[in-house]
């Protein structure tokens, strides 16, 4: 293939062309405003992608930021006086109207809205118009001193690293540990399902399949990639959940297992495509050399091609993780959406992305809950960004080195 002539201004026969260039110099150097503008516009637009990334980071984090700052205006309606059990991080009793509890209540934290139980669990709790109460200051390690006023966000920040996700209650707690655990659990399940399937299928397509099979498999995978996730979610919710329950006889119909399988289906095209690319990128000479020294086709496939393409497969799995991690609609529809802290694959889970999707519509803009959701979004963004960066730089560099034999 010849080089793109538009790109090499500098290239070309230098010595010979010089005289020619002098001759046509007048027309060549003529300033063409159209060309100039086009180039500038095209260059400018090309930077859009980079700008968007920066903007996404900036604006998602911007909405999450108030949670880290002390400067938030003290809500006059909030008064509190708390004595807390040491394990409990924070309890705020507000006398503003209690928002209706959504479906977040679970076995573990469903009691939070019940004030009598709250008292039993968390000790003395009274609502007083006076925010200052010197006696309680000592007991309560978390509330800010009376002088600086009560700070909703600071306390919310302190509850982040707990397991209770009860954003809508008298005592909102934003513990994201259960959400993180749920997300990882479901990611693991979907990977265990999707990765072997997709990698083996890619191996078949790249090495064993004849042309006709390839022409069936590849478009099918492309079609699967085009399935909207809401359709996969619907399928999981209506068909797969019932079907799997009949096989495995577990209790809750919607759980991390169903959600994991459904997300696996969504991740298969990504893992397959990248693995297949990596496998076909292995030079033919590897294949031929292996066959020449007497290895069979499958030995070559497993002991030569597959190892050579390992970094690429690793990248494929990483991007599959990224896909599952941020998958929202399937998580919303097929996982049961209860923030439980257990490792049972057949119990309901609530993922980070699903939490954002389910609750963002119902929060008050600018509220602590709103900020926490954006904080979760920032976490998701940072996580996927780094996954992609690893897949891009580390893995691809290694792959190239290995294939080129450096």
């Amino acid at each position: 293939m010849t080089k793109n002539p538009l790109k090499d201004k500098a290239a070309g026969p230098p010595a010979l062309a010089n005289s020619d260039q002098d001759r046509i110099d007048i027309t060549r150097k003529k300033f063409r405003i159209g060309d100039y503008l086009a180039e500038k516009v095209i260059k400018g637009v090309a930077f859009l992608s980079i700008t968007i990334i920066v903007f996404i980071f900036f604006f998602v984090f911007r909405e999450a930021f108030p949670i880290f700052s002390n400067s938030k205006v003290v809500k006059p309606s909030i008064t509190e006086k708390i004595a807390q059990a040491p394990q409990e991080t924070y309890g705020a009793v507000t006398d503003k109207p209690i928002k209706q509890s959504k479906e977040v209540n679970t076995q573990t934290n469903g009691a939070a809205t019940d004030s009598s139980q709250v008292q039993e669990q968390y000790g003395v709790q009274t609502i007083e118009p006076e925010p200052e109460s010197a006696g309680d200051e000592k007991e309560d390690t978390y509330t800010v001193s009376a002088g600086s006023g009560f700070d909703d966000n600071q306390s919310a920040l302190k509850t982040l690293v707990t397991k209770d996700w009860v954003p809508v209650s008298q005592k909102p707690r934003y513990g994201i540990l259960a959400l993180i655990l749920g997300t990882f659990k479901i990611t693991l399940i979907s990977l265990l399902f999707a990765a072997p399937l997709a990698i083996l299928a890619a191996l078949y397509t790249a090495i064993f399949a004849n042309k006709k099979m390839k022409e069936i498999i590849k478009p099918t995978i492309e079609l699967l990639a085009g399935f909207p996730s809401v359709v996969i979610g619907f399928f999981a919710l209506m068909v797969l959940a019932t079907f799997l329950q009949q096989i495995f006889h577990y209790e809750t119909r919607l759980n991390s297992f169903v959600g994991g399988i459904a997300m696996g289906i969504a991740a298969i095209p990504i893992i397959f495509t990248i693995t297949e690319d990596a496998l076909t990128a292995v030079p033919k000479s590897f294949f031929e050399a292996s066959l020449a020294i007497g290895a069979s086709k499958w030995q070559t496939a497993f002991f030569v091609i597959l190892p050579a393409a390992t970094p690429g497969i690793f990248a494929a799995v990483l991007l599959g993780i990224g896909r599952v991690f941020g998958e929202t609609m399937i998580a919303l529809m097929a996982t049961g959406n209860a923030a439980l802290m257990d490792l049972n694959p057949f119990s309901s889970v609530r993922t980070l992305a699903a939490t954002i999707g389910a609750e963002m519509n119902e929060v008050v803009f600018g509220d602590t809950h709103y900020n926490v959701l954006f904080l979760i979004g920032s976490l998701l963004f940072i996580f996927t960004f780094f996954i992609n960066a690893i897949a891009e730089f580390y893995v691809k560099g290694k792959l190239m080195k290995r294939i080129q034999g450096k």
């Binding site: 793109n4 060309d35 619907f234 399928f235 891009e392």
Partner: protein, 301 residues
Amino acid sequence: MITSFKKNIKGVVIEGITLASALIIIAIVIVMLTVIIIGGKDQLSWEFLTSFPTDGMTKGGIFPAIYGTALLVIIMSIAAVPFGTITAIYLTEYAKENSIIAKTIRFAVRTLAVIPSIIYGLFGLGFFIKFVGAHIDGAFFGGELKWGQPNLLWASLTMALLTLPVVIVSVEEALKTVPNELRAASLALGATKWQTIRKVVLPGSISGILTGTILAVSRGAGEVAPILFTGAAYYLATLPGLGDQFMVLGYHIYVLTTQSANVDQTLPIQFGTTCVLLLLTFILNMTAVILRYRIRKKKTN
């Protein structure tokens, strides 16, 4: 003899396992397609497609959702396709292959492609609605809430960001299939670089741009997460304008399956809507696959 036979058995078994994996994936696709199409085919009728929901969304059609989806993807394409095409032109025609700028842009494009769609939703809310919209309101409407709330425009633009990498990748692939001899010939005739791009390169890759657009439309029609809080609405009695919230097929499915009071009652509508959405994306994707197949064939010729 014996060892080679053993080897053969092992080879056959292993090849069989890989084949089985491929077949399982194909089976999953076929099962999903058939279940949804069989479940929804009774519901599909001209009336279902062209009438409004009635009886608290338990009966009637899905016309507003189709209308909203159509508007969404049209506005989205208007925003995404030109920018995507221009970025692709920059990457193939202007940028040097290994320059830092080109590498960074490529990295950015791939990052855009893997960012979860819900993050785009958050960005749409944080940027378009809370920042751009709020400032427009502050500047032109005296602080009255008009553009600083979820609507069709912001949802479409959010979706455009999501589909931008799809367009860029497809167009880039198509631009690369234009033979360099054509570019050289054009330049040799005295055309400038921009003239060459406009008159030679772009017309030669029009099918690629079309493929990119189709793929973007298919993606945009199916995604729900980005528009959850940038404009999608549960139910609207009127058809939306640019500044209104709107109904959309994917969100309609989500709402009916998870938020409605009586899920079983609306089951036929759910299947019908899912079927419509699936067929829509299926047909679009098929077209794109065929178009792309042709482009690749042209490349190998």
